[in-house]
Amino acid sequence: MERTLFSQSETHFLHPNLHVNGHDPNMQSTNNQPQSSHTSTSRSSDSGEPTGDGKWASRILRECARAISNEDSGQIHNLLWMLNELASPYGDCDQKLASYFLQALFCKATESGQRCYKTLISVAEKSHSFDSARKLILKFQEVSPWTTFGHVASNGAILEALEGETKLHIIDISNTLCTQWPTFLEALATRNDETPRLKLTVVVTASIVRSVMKEIAQRMEKFARLMGVPFEFNVISGLNHLGELTKEGLGVQEDEAIAVNCIGALRRVEVEEREAVIRMLQSLHPRVVTIVEEEADFSSSRNDFVKCFEECLRFYTLYFEMLEDSFPPTSNERLMLERECSRSIVRVLACDDEQNGNVGDCERRERGIQWIERLKEAFSPISFSDDVVDDVKALLKRYKAGWALVLPKEDDPGTYLTWKEEPVVWASAWKP
């Protein structure tokens, strides 16, 4: 596959002052892993470079993060004040980033992250409804392939892995409100002469999503009837953590062909428990496991506030710019998505992991290569077939320019969605 990102040595040639992101030992071994922001001159994520005319928000935010790390209360005070003056959740990208990151910095400085997070969650829950959630997800899918990329790749991999099976059981660990499955059901109904039975067990972790699953269940059942697919739907919620799942708990039966679909699920597991969760997945004896995660590393730097902050800023700057680029200028959905980010940002930056046993999801993302290291312990990778790759490419053509698909070298599984040449979402498929 052609490479759209520079290799490490080219990066250094072009930008000799850059220092490579992170000291993750995994990264040094493979030259052709997609590097992050350093290849793109428009990203100003390097902390050391003087930016005469760089983006003002990221400069002040990073200075403030450093001040907090140094416990320089005068500077903290000063910078928080300045951010407060200039920030606005309704302004341009800089102002929005300033506003949401300010909230997290303030919480960090005053050690009030947990309370703030709880409040944000409860406010969001109050106003959350099936209709608003559905509208939000659909609109996002309409203007950006951020989520649909993973759906298409995963569906393709699952369909191919379960070809010929008659009893399918998909364990969907995600918060996508089942927007992935109608197309899957349609494919099941049309690809095979004999339509297999499908049991769909959705494992929900985000508290916000639980409340709407009942309505979703009804709609899915109706739709499956429509498609003529024998269908059973179950929801599992209220788990303290995913490690508690068992075959019995999920209703797995011996004659079923199991597929596990994890969309943005692994990052919500506490870092120390991820290994256990992966082993749990292994114990389900699935035929295929599809993993989709956002490409950012909030995990390896979690004890270094400034580093974690900078990575967070890098990722969310990308995300916000993508939202600005994709949505029409005055869009409620965009605002809602940004508000969701604000919760994640507070959670990652201002909430102490140890104290937060029951404060909702973890949100510490890891990059594809990091997940690969974990998953390799229990599974072996499956490459996406050419058909699936073609489907994804066709999908991307439906959106505005800027999106691309990147396939790494043969020995590395997984596929990256890139926006403006920055990898943003990673999708992969695995077998036992």
Partner: protein
């Protein structure tokens, strides 16, 4: 079966990412199959979502008060402490806190423009924010002042990079500034009149100089005054009146005034030097003062050439240098220096100097001078308000016509000079150049006090050196009047 499937497919909209190759078009909202994923739903209520956010912003603002520790306690849940320490926000307190906030923002903008870590982008954004908060026409003194400073910084931001800032100085204070180009003559005259009525600045400068001149020429029959910036000539009208009404002394001497004039496009709004000459001549005639008027042109670069003066034997030579009266224009330092050097070269018996009093500016860098300038003009604004507390519009006129452009120009000068050594006063320059100070008489000092007494008791006059009176408002010194004699002049020995 297929038909049904096709119908249903057209009704589904999942951003068209179907794995089949049918292109789904946008859909109907037919509810027949209960699968209409495209119904409109009510919009989320933003007000509900904004609760914690607002508290948080208020908290930040509380932080910049003196009660910042209280804000921290409050937030960490110490409710009792919060109640005790919560600041009371009466109107005055609210204004003060807004004023403080504006000062912080101005400082932040100035810092972003010139500080160690420069960022034009940050400066731009802060100025945008400032402009949202202030207007040159409405609001408190601080708000109007901040509006002018904001414009000044904006000018620096736009000019920074080009050589534009030099143009901002100009010879006319309205030179570069967009809305000052259309000052009407009547506006300017009215503003000047108001300035005279509302404040003692102009009279202080004139009367102190005039008294010193009167005392220095008591027995002379010919007096020649060379005036660096005659403007409307009002200083000499009052001098002539004083000369004519001298009792117990020789008759009024012949008074000759040479006005320094500038070629080219100096501002014309107060009228040309010739007009001033005609007016003074007519006035002198009307009171019986022997008088003649001359002009002396500066070079094109505004350098003063003593040889251009016409001198007469036996005349008492006085060099009058009014520099920073509120309605005056900026004059380039090289030009002023050439004028004062001329005084030395011609052995002028008296040099009367009126200039802005500069505050301590720390290391003299841009920030220090910027803050000093802010402090200076804030005192001026306050003093004008004390003079005409109810006449907001009148003050606004004076601010718009005179003070705004001065602020604009002052910032440009400070910006251009940043990195240079600390700026000196012209008094210091004279001292270093060998000029000798002349004592301010008791009568002169009393006159100044009387003058100020006519205005507001916020004004005060200090004798900071035996040859120097300084007019101040409250604790801020604003205008300095000093008298000197040439190094080689032996009249006062």
């Amino acid at each position: 079966m297929d038909m049904v499937v096709d119908d249903v497919l057209t009704e589904l909209e999942f951003s068209g990412y179907s794995t089949t190759s049918t292109t789904t078009t946008t859909v109907t909202t037919d509810d027949e199959y209960g699968c209409t994923w495209n119904d409109w739903s009510p919009v989320v209520d933003w007000d509900e979502l904004s609760g914690p956010h607002d508290d948080f912003h208020d908290l930040i603002e509380l932080m910049i008060d003196d009660n910042s520790t209280a804000a921290y306690h409050h937030h960490v849940g110490n409710a009792e402490a919060a109640e005790e320490d919560a600041p009371e926000m009466g109107v005055a307190a609210a204004e003060d806190s807004k004023g403080l906030r504006l000062v912080h923002l101005l400082m932040a903008a100035a810092e972003a423009l010139t500080g160690a870590t420069k960022s034009r982008e940050l400066a731009r954004v802060i100025l945008v924010r400032l402009k949202e908060l202030v207007s040159p026409h409405d609001g408190t003194n601080m708000e109007r002042l901040a509006a002018h400073f904001t414009e000044g910084l904006q000018g620096l931001l736009e000019g920074a990079g080009g050589g534009h800032n030099k143009h901002m100085l100009g010879t006319g204070s309205h030179h570069h500034h967009h809305h000052h180009d259309d000052h009407h003559q009547t506006d300017v005259i009215a503003a000047f009149q108001l300035l005279q009525d509302m404040s003692p600045y102009v009279k202080f400068g004139h009367f102190t100089a005039n008294q010193a001149i009167l005392e220095a020429v008591t027995h002379d029959r010919r007096v020649h005054i060379v005036d660096y910036d005659i403007m409307e000539g009002i200083q000499w009208a009052s001098l002539m009146q004083a000369l004519v009404s001298r009792k117990d002394g020789p008759p009024a001497p012949h008074l000759r005034i040479t006005a320094v004039s500038r070629g080219g496009s100096g501002r014309r709004f107060i009228g040309t030097v010739q007009e001033t000459g005609r007016r003074l001549t007519a006035f002198a005639a009307s009171i019986g003062q022997p008088f003649s008027f001359h002009q002396c042109k500066l070079d094109s670069d505004e350098t003063f050439r003593p040889s251009a003066l016409k001198l007469v034997r036996g005349e008492a030579l006085v060099f009058n240098c009014m520099l920073h009266l509120p309605h005056f224009n900026y004059r380039a330092p090289e030009s002023v220096a050439s004028f004062l050097c001329g005084a030395k070269a011609l052995n002028s018996r008296l040099v009367t100097l009126v200039e802005e009093e500069v505050g301590p500016t720390g290391d003299g860098g841009f920030m220090g001078q910027f803050m000093d300038s802010l402090h200076h003009y804030s005192a001026v604004y306050d003093s004008l308000e004390a003079g005409f507390p109810m006449q907001g519009r009148a003050r606004a006129l004076v601010e718009r016509v005179f003070l705004g452009p001065r602020i604009f120009g002052a910032l440009a000068r400070i910006y251009l000079a940043r990195g240079d050594e600390e700026r000196h006063s012209w008094g210091e320059w004279l001292a270093v150049s060998g000029f000798r100070p002349l004592s301010v008489s008791f009568a002169n000092h009393c006159q100044a006090k009387l003058l100020l007494g006519l205005f507001n008791d916020g004004y005060r006059v200090e004798e900071l050196a035996n040859n120097r009176l300084v007019l101040g408002w409250k604790s801020r010194r604003l205008l300095s009047a000093s008298i000197w004699t040439s190094p080689d002049c032996d009249f006062f020995n």
